[in-house]
Structures are given as C-alpha cells and as structure tokens.
C-alpha cells in the first residue's frame, strides 16, 4: 500500500448537485438536470479545491505550482458506503430475470452470468463497427439445460456490495445461488427536486413565467430492514482514495496532503459538486482494505497459472476515458498480422509488467456517456469540451496469453485509462477476476 495514500469518507450534508451538460441559465422554464451519480472529475475537482484552500488558497505567488501539485495528486473512488459497507457499480455481465410477478415462482429473481460464447457456430456472426478487423465474440447469458434461450435482463440496481463483488469475480459458477440468498444491492441516491422562482427586487413578489427547477442527489436513504422489521434513514457516504504526487511540490509549496488534512476524526466542511452544496470530508483509514485485492480473488487469479484457458475479466468500477473510445488504447492489433487469419486486440494494462499480455475476447457495455464540465482555471474559464466515457460497470473479457495472471491482483482499483491525467482524475478504475 502506498504510504502517501489517504482514505477519505465524504458525507454530503445537502443533496449533491451533479449536473449533466445541459445549459442552465436565467431563462423562463430553465431546468437543471442531475446525473445519477457524481462524476470522478467532479469529485476530484472538489477535493483539489479544498486542498488548495487548506494550503493557503489560489491567490498567492505560487499558485501555478500549487495547481500543478494538486493536479498531480490522484483522487480516485467516490464509491457509496452505507452502514460501513462499501458498494461498487453493478457489473453489466450479471443478468437478472425478475420473477416477482410469476405466481409459479420458486424465487423472486434468477441471476446469471453473461460471458463470451466459446466459439462461433459455423456460418454465424455479427458486424463490428469500430473493431478494425479484430475478432470479438458476443457476450450472452449462460443457459442451463431445458431453459429458454433468449433471456433479456431486467434492470439491475445501481450498486452491489464489495462482498458480492468478491464472490462475483472469484466464483462465477456460483453466481446464481449466491445472489438469490441475500440482497446485496443498493439503489443510487434519490432525486431531490426543487422549484425556484425569480423574485422582483422592489416588490418581493414572484416574477411571471420565471420558474426554474433543479434536481440533486439526496444521499439520505430509507433502509428496508431484513425480516420486515424496521425502516430507518441511513446516510450514504462516499469513499475515496487520494494518492499524493511523488514529484516535489516545489520549494514554495512545502506542503503535503497529510500535513494539510486534519488528523483522523476531524472533519473538513467543503462543498461537493455544484451550487456550493456542503459535504463533510474526513480521513478514514478503515476504508483502505477495499483498495487491496481481496485474497480470494488474488488466489483465483494465481490459480489460473496452471490452467490452459486463462480467462479473466476486467470490470470498470468508475467510468473510463480511452483514446480509442470504447477500447483501451493499450490494446492494439498485432503488427505482424497474417492475411486471412483471425486477429485479436492484445496488450498489457497500465501498471502491469510487460511480460503480461492480454487478448480481448469480448466486452459488454452500455452506450457511451458524455463528460464535460466547467473550468474555473484562470485563462481557461468556461465550458470544457465533451468527451465520451465507457460507463462504469462495463466488463472486458480477456485471455492471458503470456505472463502470470496473478500480477493483475496488483492492479485492483488502479486506473486503466490511457492518459495520465485521466488516471489521476479517477477515471477507469478497474476490478479484476476470473470467469
């Protein structure tokens, strides 16, 4: 574990404004829409601003050095924590068939794993728009004997517990049994919608037609207790890891995060997201265990060393930005491809030894999501351009073609995004396991 890492628990006091890119101004009927979760860049931006203020603010002589220092710090995470349990985005390779309205049901839902087919049957296939001639196999639900073949997934809750993720990644064959037993899921925050009017200054009355609405994420949730007993309000918090830059901050900025941040237990109050909505930020070393690959997964990855087919999965725990859009830039077609032979994307993820080579077999992902934002940096103030993210929960299926699969355990919750700044902003955090 990096000694320069700090683990933070963020407790939103107000509903958090996590706006999408739609313009919002003082026009009649303007509506502010919220995303369903906080973007990594919004969380990183809020945290860096807070650190900057703790370091003395952005008006001094050394502002540019300070900004560079802050930008070099990695701020990663923003995972929900409820009742001391950490949750991660539900992966898209889990399939749920809701049977709650079926009278002959033996259980409320059936859970299945979706994985790439073993091989194409003769003559069948699919087109790939942006695969550059590489082969990819479709990812389909597992079908047990005697079952119908065209399962479609019912919507899954937004998050699943850390424990469930361990199970999902280390014992894929038992997914169906495991998920049926206990509810491991968590819904995202509720939408808090407010209506606003414009007040005429001189009269103190509302101005005609000047009606606005805003929405935000309410982190207070109603917990339905097990066994039908009790319903109570819990607050959802956010867990994040901050890793200090290894570069020096410069002589004039003789600060480091640990000296800036109060001792464990003391909370800093600072806005998170838009509209200056307040959150409490507190160090919590107890969260560090989640950033270490669980032993069960590490062992299952290591055990692949002795198998013929080394099938592994990479789940995105946060949305990823890749140079090639849907595909990580570190996956490339082999340079010496032989005509008419089947070719695959291959490569080694950032942070892994070069000796480890992965081959992309298939992937499952929802449509791209936009990320832009508003720059407050002097000289660059204004709207940032739109970039396209691979959504959190997307899954890439690989085969290890060279090297030790056990090495992947060291990449647990590390970023696989292509650009260093995107990595430091918390995009593309990865979870690894077998399938």
């Amino acid at each position: 574990m990096n000694s320069r890492a700090l683990f933070i628990r963020t407790s939103p006091r107000d509903p958090v404004v996590s706006r999408d890119g739609r313009p919002f101004g003082s026009f009649p009927g303007a509506r502010m829409k919220s995303l369903q979760w906080v973007l990594p860049s919004a969380l990183a931006g809020s945290f860096r601003t807070m650190l900057g203020k703790l370091a003395g603010g952005f008006r001094g002589e050394n502002t540019s050095e300070l900004i560079q220092f802050l930008r070099d710090c990695s701020i990663q995470g923003g995972f929900p924590v409820v009742d001391n349990c950490l949750y991660l985005p539900t992966p898209r390779d889990l399939l749920k068939i809701d049977r709650s309205s079926d009278v002959n049901k033996s259980e409320n839902s059936i859970y299945r794993l979706q994985r790439p087919i073993k091989e194409w049957r003769s003559g069948e296939g699919m087109d790939l728009s942006f695969a550059g001639g590489a082969t990819l196999l479709p990812v389909l639900p597992e079908v047990h004997e005697g079952e119908k073949e065209d399962y479609k997934s019912d919507p899954l809750p937004d998050f699943m517990s850390f424990e469930a993720m361990i199970q999902h990644l280390s014992e894929p064959e038992n997914v169906g049994v495991f998920f049926n037993k206990i509810n491991h899921f968590l819904k995202g925050p509720q939408e808090d919608r407010r209506f606003h009017v414009k007040i005429k200054g001189e009269q103190g009355a509302a101005e005609d037609g000047m009606l606005f609405s805003s929405s935000a994420l309410d982190f207070g949730i109603l917990q339905e207790k097990e066994n039908g007993i009790g319903r109570e309000w819990e607050s959802m918090q956010l867990a994040l890891r901050v890793v200090e830059s290894e570069k020096s901050a410069g002589d004039q900025v003789e600060k480091n995060i640990r000296s800036l941040f109060p001792e464990s237990g003391n909370e800093v109050i600072h806005p998170l997201g838009g509209e200056r909505r307040i959150a409490g930020w507190k160090e919590d070393g107890g969260l560090s265990k989640h950033w270490k690959c669980p032993d069960k997964i590490r062992e299952s990855l290591q055990a692949l060393k002795n198998t013929e087919e080394k099938c592994i999965r990479m789940i995105l725990a946060s949305p990823a930005l890749f140079d090639d859009g849907w595909k990580p830039g570190w996956l490339q077609l082999p340079k010496d491809k032989i005509k008419n032979s089947t070719i695959y994307y291959e490569g080694s993820p950032p942070g892994a030894p070069d000796s480890l080579q992965l081959r992309l077999i298939g992937a499952i992902m929802d449509r791209w999501k936009p990320v832009s934002g508003w720059s407050l940096e002097e000289g660059k103030t204004g709207a940032k351009p739109v970039r396209r993210m691979v959504p959190a929960g997307s899954v890439y299926f690989f085969q290890v073609i060279k090297g030790n699969p056990g090495d992947l355990a060291n990449l647990w919750l590390e970023s696989v995004s292509d650009q260093a700044q995107d990595q430091r902003d918390g995009f593309g955090l990865s979870l690894w396991g077998i399938y």
Partner: protein, 684 residues
C-alpha cells in the same frame, strides 16, 4: 472462382433511440426523432430488399415507395417501421461475403441520415431557401462542429446465422435459427462500441436536449432568429420569422446537430396544449354555435392577414386542423401573458409588432361569451403508450419465414389501423410501428381509444395465427397475443421528456401488476394521473377481468367497465364528485381492520355516504301501484354490483382512485351540460 451460394437469416438493429427519441424537449423533437428513426429503418429495409433480400420483418406494403428526394413529412404517412429488420440474404457471385450485406444496411442508413442533415443545412445556411420560403439570410450554425457531429450518429448492429433448405425446399430449423439470431443480436447490442470525439473545442455550450454534444448554434443565433439585426461582412442582416417558427428555439436553448436536424423538419404535428384543448373545442363548437363561428371567422381573417400568432397549425391529423386551425395557447387565459412576452419589446414594454397586438385584442374578447357558457379548457391530456404482450414467445413459435411474415403483415396492418384509430378520435399519433403505439389523446376520448386499440390488436393477429395453426395440421395451439396499454394524464406544461417518461411508466405498470389485487401480468391497462400539484395516483387492471377488482363476486364488473360507467354517470350528473374523497377517507379509516368482520360496516358506510350526498343514481320513485321503484334501475344495478365487489379498505381505496380518475376524464364543461339539463328537467 465461383463463390458457393449460401443463405443467412440476417438481422439489423437501428439506433440510437437515445439521441433520436429520448432527447426531446418539445413534441416536435419527439415526433421528428421517431419519424427519422423509422425512416432510416425503412431505408435499410428497402436497400436490403433492392439487393435481393427476402424481408421477413417489417412487412412493406405494396406501393410504399421509399422517399429519397426530400425529408419532408408526408401527411399520408401511415407506416411506422420498427428499428429491427429481419431478412433472408444470400451470398454468391454478386455479393460474395455476408459482411457486404452489413455494408449495404450501413450505407443505406447513413445516406438517409445525411439526407436529413442536408435538408436542415439548406434552410439554416446563408440564404437558405426552400419552397420559395426564405429561411435565413444569415447562417446561424457553426460549420466546424456541424461537420464533426455528422459521422457516427446512426448506430447499426448486424447479426446473422446460416439457413439451409431441406429436401422439400423448405427452410430448415427456422424457429431455432431465429432464436439464435436474436441471441447474437442481443450480444452485439451488448457491445455498444464508439469512437472518441474527434475535435475538442473549449467554451462551447452543450445541447439543451441531452447535453451529450456541443451546440452547433452560433452565439447570436437566438438574436438573429428574433430578428435583431446583425452585421455580417459589413452589411446589416436580419433573420426571418419563417426560421424562427420552424425551429421554435427558446431563449437560452442550444441544439446539437441531431437536435437541429429534428427541429428543422417540416412539422406536421401539433403541440400538447392543442390536444388538451380538444374536448373544450368540441363542446364549444356544439353548444355555442354562433360564438364559435364568430371566433373562427375572426381567426381566419387574421390568418389571412399573415399575422404570425395566427399561423395555421399543421397536424398529421386533418380533423385537428379542421377543428381549430390556430394555436390552442390562444384559448388558455394563463398563456396570454406568455404570448404577449413573445411580441413585447422588453426595453420599451410595447409591442414590436402593432398588428399582433391588435389581432390579440380583437380575438381574445370573443372567447369571453364561450367561457361564460362552458368555462375554461382543461390543460390536461392523455399520453398513451401501448405494446404487444409476449410477442417474443409468439415469434419463437414461428416455424418458417412464411409464418413469421404473416405476423409481420398483421403488425403492419395494426400500425396503420392504430394510427387511423387515434386520428379518428382527435388523437395525434407520434409513433405506430410493429406492436408499439405512442400517441397524444384528448382526455375525453382516451378510454374509447385504448379499449378499441386493445381489441384491434388481438383481432388483427387472430386470423393469421389461426391460419398458421390450421395449416400446420398438427393441433398446435398458438396463443393470440394481447396488448397492454398505459395511459398517463398530465398537464400540458409538463416538460415533454417527462411526459414520455410518464407514458413509459404507465405502460410498464399496465404490463406488470405491483400488488395481487391488480391481477395477473400482461393484458393490462393502467391510468396514472400526474397532477400539476399534489401526489400521483393511478391504478392497473387487466382487460379481461375475471381476476380484477372484484374477484370475490360472481357478477363482476371489470375495472374498465366500472371506469366507463362512472364517467358516464359523472357526465349525466348521476354521481357527485365529492364521493371520491369521502370513499377515500372511509378507506383510510378502515385500513388495518379485519376485512372479514368489517365488510358489512364498510358497505353500510358506503351506502350512507351515497345517501348523504343525495346522489341521483340511488333516487327512487313511487309508481302507480304505490311501489317504490328505482329511478335509474339499470345504473343502480351496476352500482350495486360494483359495491358488492368491495370487500376491504384496499378495494375501496382502489375504487376511490378509479372515481378520481373518472373525474379527470370528464371535464366540468361536459358535466355542466347535463347538470343544467337535469336541473331544467327537475324544474319542469
């Protein structure tokens, strides 16, 4: 070398639904997006057919030619094409590889999209002229972003499986191969690959429709459209009203390329407030003939003078155009200040256009006698979304392309008839294709439309299914699918994306019951009311209602029939509105009581409420023999049967919701007519 001919079952999925349909702020966005997606799918189907593919789904009726030349809406357009196309294709000498078929589909989709863009570009550019209408003499778009966003908008996913003929030249294992094809297509849809943005420009606002792309509008586009003069290349220029009314750009609104192309389409679709006002218009036209005629005459005269706010509305439904050819906002008192603000100069607080001011002042006073007689129009309307039940299961049972094609034909027929059905009842059909229908319907017509739509669906599918089963000669039973209909009632000022969401939720509710009293899944209908202020309420029931609201009684009145009867009774003033709230309160009081023991008490209290409210439906008369007789025996009988079915507080709560929904479906101006008649009847 001669390629070996081979046949495949080939599927294409056309998207994205997000950009074309979900991203919508105005009815126009939704309508144009659905239409564009449908047209792109149609072009793909045509392209495959022209290259020799045998289409299985959709079925393209004879004579339906692809419109290549322009993107203008055709008012006679009666076919909506679902965004999945299934066909049998062959590879051989001419098309040696199956991938070529994917290219055929892709280029057809892309070409159609580019036609839509070219059309929009023509009217948005400098001196944009179409049909002799000058749209602009100053470009309002940023060309760099326009070009950047052109590529990669249409998302196409293709999948295929081999198909072989047996000794008797029939396609072998069709059902099995079709299931496999849909599996692979789902696998393909699971991988939504994309390219990154090619240009990154700072400082550009994002689209107001979904924020997913940069706006292609110039900074001053709104001002140009509002007619403020701009200096271009040293000369002063102004935007034109034609482009303003076409784009309907709100202040501060930004559009990306897809949004702009949607707005630039020639609209043949009315606003939600137009549909909401239809019940009022119909009553006004019938009951206040002279005043109505005066109003229409004045409007048409102002229209003749070319006054913008009286510009003719354009609907795909001629009946709506004929009923009231002006913007229905003119009828709503609380919209007058908004109309004013469009023409008032904020600096001088006077009208920039004197003729508009005069027109408004001549027209609005003519509404006074009408409103005195029948009151204000209701701002609420119904958004209906319907979808076939268990269609996947039905298609799985199709053993040959011919059988499947029979179903496709029936679905094409349904989509055409569904559109006509909606139009007949003054509805505006946003989309009807395959087994899906989405439309706006006036409140007073929605019960009739939804029930007829439900019957139409099963009726149209019944014949081919029976024929298929008969032809097979092996006593196979194929269940005729049903239609679930969701109806959301909402205020016409509700943002459109929410209206669409409400309709989708209502449809989901119609399909899936959330509590046992709502009956089995599918074959359902639901009505959900979204008041402008107050909480949402609604109910769900099955169409065939053996398991509906009153499953304890032998004499069941289905929930739908209950609703129809209650609406009728409200209309005839046989029931008073207040009982809904009294019943609701009674249900609240009885909640948690043991239903078995409190059943009689509940019934007695319901009767007591009806007596206390003096509802005419329970009135009785003494006949010539001195016997007490019910004044409305048949209505009274039905009411008793309904009440017999209420066994618990939960049943009563549901019934109270039904009463409240019925109140919304019968606006006050419809009721008053009968109340007045009744009063005069009593007086005489």
């Amino acid at each position: 070398m001669k390629a070996n001919p081979q046949s495949f079952l080939f599927a294409v999925h056309v998207g994205p639904v997000q950009d074309f349909i979900v991203a919508a702020r105005r009815t126009k966005d939704l309508w144009a997006g659905s239409r564009m997606l449908s047209q792109i799918s149609l072009s793909v189907a045509h392209a495959l057919k022209n290259e020799g593919a045998e289409l299985i789904f959709p079925c393209l009726p004879e004579g339906l030619e692809e419109r290549h030349s322009n993107a203008e809406a055709d008012s006679n357009e009666t076919i909506g094409v679902a965004n999945v196309i299934i066909s049998i294709v062959s590879t051989g000498q001419e098309i040696p590889e199956i991938n070529t078929w994917a290219q055929v589909a892709r280029s057809a989709a892309d070409n159609r999209w580019r036609e839509f863009v070219a059309y929009a570009e023509k009217i948005a550019s400098v001196n944009g002229v179409r049909d002799k209408i000058q749209f602009s003499n100053l470009s309002i778009i940023r060309e760099d972003l326009w070009k950047q966003q052109l590529d990669g908008v249409v998302e196409l996913y293709c999948a295929w499986v081999p198909l072989e003929k047996n000794a008797s030249l029939d396609w072998q294992d069709y059902a099995k191969q079709r299931t496999r094809l849909m599996q692979i297509l789902n696998g393909r849809k699971n991988l939504k690959d994309f390219l990154p943005n090619s240009i990154n420009v700072d400082g550009i606002p994002k689209s107001s429709l979904d924020g997913a792309r940069e706006s292609v509008l110039l900074k001053d586009a709104y001002k140009i459209l509002q007619g403020e003069s701009q200096i271009d290349n040293g000369s002063e220029k102004r935007g034109t009203g034609a482009l303003r009314s076409l784009l309907k750009l709100a202040q501060g609104e930004q559009l990306d390329l897809v949004g702009f192309v949607k707005r630039a389409q020639d609209m043949k679709f009315v606003s939600v407030s137009q549909v909401a006002a239809i019940p009022w218009m119909l009553v006004a036209q019938e009951r206040c003939k002279e005043e109505w005629a005066l109003l229409m005459e004045k409007g048409k005269r102002l229209q003749g003078k070319g006054i913008e706010m009286f510009a003719p509305i354009r609907s795909s439904n001629g009946k709506i155009e004929a009923l009231f050819p002006f913007d229905a906002e003119l009828l709503y008192k609380n919209r007058h200040s908004v109309i004013d603000s469009r023409y008032l100069d904020p600096k001088t607080n006077s009208y920039s256009d004197r003729s508009s001011e005069e027109a408004l002042h001549e027209f609005i006073p003519l509404l006074v006698p009408l409103k005195h007689e029948i009151g204000e129009p209701s701002p609420y309307l119904a958004i209906l979304q319907a979808d076939g039940d268990r269609m996947g299961k039905l298609l799985q049972q199709m053993e040959s392309p011919d059988e499947h094609r029979r179903i496709s034909e029936a679905l094409a027929q349904f989509s055409q008839d569904a559109r006509k059905l909606l139009q007949k009842q003054y509805g505006e059909c946003i989309y009807a294709g395959g087994d899906d229908v989405l439309g706006l319907v006036p409140l007073t017509k929605v019960l009739e439309v939804s029930s007829k739509l439900h019957d139409l669906f099963s009726q149209i599918l019944k014949t081919p299914i029976e024929e298929i089963a008969k032809k097979r000669n092996n006593n196979t039973e194929i269940e005729t699918p049903t239609l679930s209909v969701g109806i959301a009632i909402a205020h016409s000022l509700t943002p459109l994306e929410e209206l669409r969401q409400y309709a989708r939720e209502a449809e989901k509710k119609a399909k899936n019951p959330t509590m046992p009293s709502e009956g089995d899944e599918r074959n359902g209908f639901s009505i959900v009311m979204h008041p402008r202020s107050g909480s949402i309420y609604g109910f769900r029931a099955r169409w065939s209602d053996s398991d509906s609201i009153a499953n304890h009684s032998e004499e069941i009145v289905s929930a739908f029939d209950q609703l129809s009867h209650i609406c009728e009774w409200f209309r005839r003033a046989l029931l008073s509105r207040g009982i809904a709230y009294d019943f609701q309160e009674l249900a609240r009081l009885h909640k948690g009581w043991d239903a078995k023991n409190s059943k009689d008490a509940l019934r007695n209290e319901m009767e007591l409420i009806l007596k206390r409210k003096k509802v005419p439906i329970i009135d009785s008369l003494i006949d010539e023999q001195g016997q007490r007789q019910q004044k409305y025996p048949s209505e009274y009988g039905i009411l008793q049967r309904i009440l017999n079915g209420i066994h618990s507080a939960q049943d009563l709560e549901r019934f109270a919701v039904l009463l409240r929904i019925a109140m919304e479906l019968v606006p006050s101006f419809e009721r008053e007519r009968f109340e007045k008649n009744r009063k005069s009847e009593v007086a005489s």
